[in-house]
Amino acid sequence: MKKVLMGNHAASWAVKLADVKMIAAYPITPQTQIVEELSEMCGSGELKAKFLKVESEHSAMASCIAASSAGVRAFTATSANGLALMHELLHWASGARLPLVMVNVNRAMAPGWNIWADQSDSLSQRDTGWLQLYVEDNQEVLDTVLQAYYIAEKVNLPVMVCYDAFFLSHTYEAVDIPEKQAVQDWLPPHARENILNTKDPRAFNGLVMPDVYMEMRYKLQQAHEEAVAVVKEAGESFAKAFDRSYSTIETVYCDDAETVLVTSSSTTSPARLVVEALREKGMKIGLMKVRLFRPFPVDDICQVLSGKKKVVVIDRNISFGKGGIFADEIRGAIANDPQAPIIFGYITGLGGRDITPELVEDIVMEAEKNERPERLALWKGLKS
């Protein structure tokens, strides 16, 4: 069934299809419609889930942790400062190895108050142990939330699905909604060991001495490393079931490219147009969309970028004092490769400013012109 849905409602539909049993959320623009729609689904009875109104995002995450500890599928969604308020509990969710799913609608951090697209909110949670996926369009929103449960439950780690405020959250697109039965066949009911059991109560998340803490951290890192393969496997099996395939990254014209443009989220869409146009003009350019950010798919990325002349990364985010985070991650991933390309890291589109095809082309042509970047963080689109 196809429906014209805003990105936020695509997320709500996925939650409904995944048979989530507990939703706890606190409203924040631009996330609100996700949970608004879910509350109506719960209210009408079409989704048989407990909808918990909470007083803060901190409580929303705490409630999801509790529900997931009790063995049910839980969901929440937030944005920007709401996500920041959850910070402590993000560590608890991953440390407790809970397969939670959260949608974060990427919004700029305040102050100044800004409700528009910017990835700095979720990227500044990159070390919390959550998986992070950045998606490009509304169909991918729906498909990725479903895959998020599939992945989370295989690796026992929480998954954050991120997409851009307004460009996706509030923009309507045709979305193919899979049949409930097909989703159930592909995503079996959640069953897990180590859940709260009143008949055999255990103590959870207690004190861990130095003699084992490190091993537990090691195991968490191991789970992340294994998750790369699980994300791919989820994408492949999803493709078999629903005819739409996904992976850790997506490449366009990269095989023979000398320059590779790297994007994530909705920025990928104008980049596709630019790459197509430049290819027609004879330029050897390719495009790599990074979908999985945590775990960072180092091998997949290096395989594509090794031996290229230049890599141009567009970041709608910033790690202050360093630069664009995707660019930095790629530099770190490929540093030891003897055939590492020159990496141009561009920062643009912060706080919801448009990233137009013209801007993308401007970035590509500037990088093409210069042999090396003048500095680590290049800004594009600043008022002159």
Binding site: A96, R97, P201, R202, V208, D211, Y218
Partner: protein
Amino acid sequence: MSDHKPIVYKNCEDVPAVVMSEASMLWNKTGAWRYIKPKYCDKVPPCNQGCPAGNDVENFVRLAEEKKYKEAWLSIKEENPFPRVCGRVCYYPCETACNRGQFDRAVSINALERFIGDYVSTDTKIERLQNDSGKKVAVVGSGPAGLTTAYHLARLGHGVHVYEADEKPGGVLRYGIPEYRLPKKVLDEEIQDIINLGVTIDCNKKVGETIQWEALLDFDAVFVATGAHKSRNVGIENEEAQGVMPGLGFLKKVAQGKKVHLGPRTVVVGGGNTAIDAARTAMRLGSQVTIHYYRSRNEIPAFKEEVDEAQKEGVHFDMLSEPVRVLVDGDKATGIEMRRTRLGDPDESGRRRPVSVEGSEYSVDATTIIIAIGEDTDLEYLPSEIQEERGRVIVDAFGATSRPGVFAGGDMAIANHNVAYAIGSGKAAAIAIDAYLKGSHVSDIVAQTTIGEYGAMSMSHYIEAGRAHAKNRYTKSVVSYNDINLNYFEEQERSKQTKLELSERHQNFKEVHQGLSEDQIQNDAQRCFHCGVCTMCDTCYIYCPDIAIEHKGDAAWGYDINFDYCKGCGICVHECPRNAMMMEDE
């Protein structure tokens, strides 16, 4: 845990991924941490405290919500023989007390009571609670107080003989309250329930005339409730003129079906319920009606809703006006001279006292003048050993007079002249008479039977006194609005009763209030907070962090608390939406 062995993980693989104890934690009886503990205890909902008749309001609302209308009716009938009467004429102090009134609007308790009463078939029988005691009680007066006493005493197994001076039973319910507020058919049917219990109602028997006081002393106990029906005179010139009549006398004539000729213009003097009833009755008989009251609309003692209805029906109000003298042509009244008043300082009732404005006299034409400024008791038939004060028989909280074995209630003994109080006083006396006949002391049971602080009596508590579960009831702790956990409630519109169209209220006595539909009843029953009464909503069960609250199982009512694990954190008590739990010391 001296046999506790430390767990040693030999290698990285051994270390679990999840931070979770290796063994069950059941050994850890967290109940040992507790120094205060939760307890289930039902408290008094403010509606129950507010009902002078002592209805278990919360209980019948809940039963109605469950669509158990017959059980709801039986619940009311346990306390009050007149749900259909009260559902029509009570001024619902329960709704004034209702905590929901501070949230959005009070639950429509009065209309619920009426619906329940009307819903249940008149064939449904009320059972006697106890076998024939062999004792006989005389009841003098068949108004709401007398009939209530008779009803409860009959249920408690006593023989009851009611003496009534008029030709039919009901007292003020029949002769004082007009048909458009209380249809006689409804009254007759509820009185029939009392007769069906074996009560004899002996009409046309007036003590001091057709029967002598001494004859009553043959009974094991006597209850007197002859009301207050002697209309007061204003004490003005020509008050005895033809065309001047007392309010209650006028209402009685109409109720008896006697022809009353009012002429085109009726003046009613007074602002009480009798005045309003008389005005609305006169209007229905085709006369133009003006009410004169010597204070302002703010001080008028009649029920506000009745005053509003009277105004809507076209009754004129001339406030701040007092009668000076009746104007006559021969012995026939032609009008009344009135004088303006102004409001002075408050009197002992807190209402501002009217002060005459000299020189402001004016005349009002009238073909009939109805004086309705209050009614007094007639206590002349009582022997002197029964003490009186300011026109009332002196009684204790249970209606006992100064003569052992003689009890009194209703308007002749209590200050609040309205039906619910009369019913309450009748019930209190029934309890006292039953105790007196059994040789027990009412003082022993007063704590268990009195609900709240205003003297409402519970028959069910009296009957059940001494039974185990009665101990868990708090009869004095009344739940206030601040005790309710409002997070659990949403605003919801109160159901509104339909009323007879104004155009249909002339030349007839059709009932004005038309009650609520079942859907409306359900809406309003669901609005009830159930203050202080457990509804098994499972909030405590869900929130207990130690899973120490358990269902009793097998549909048994209530919960068990596992004190091995209850830490005494109090979350259950804190979360309880209706304050049906409390913490107590270990």
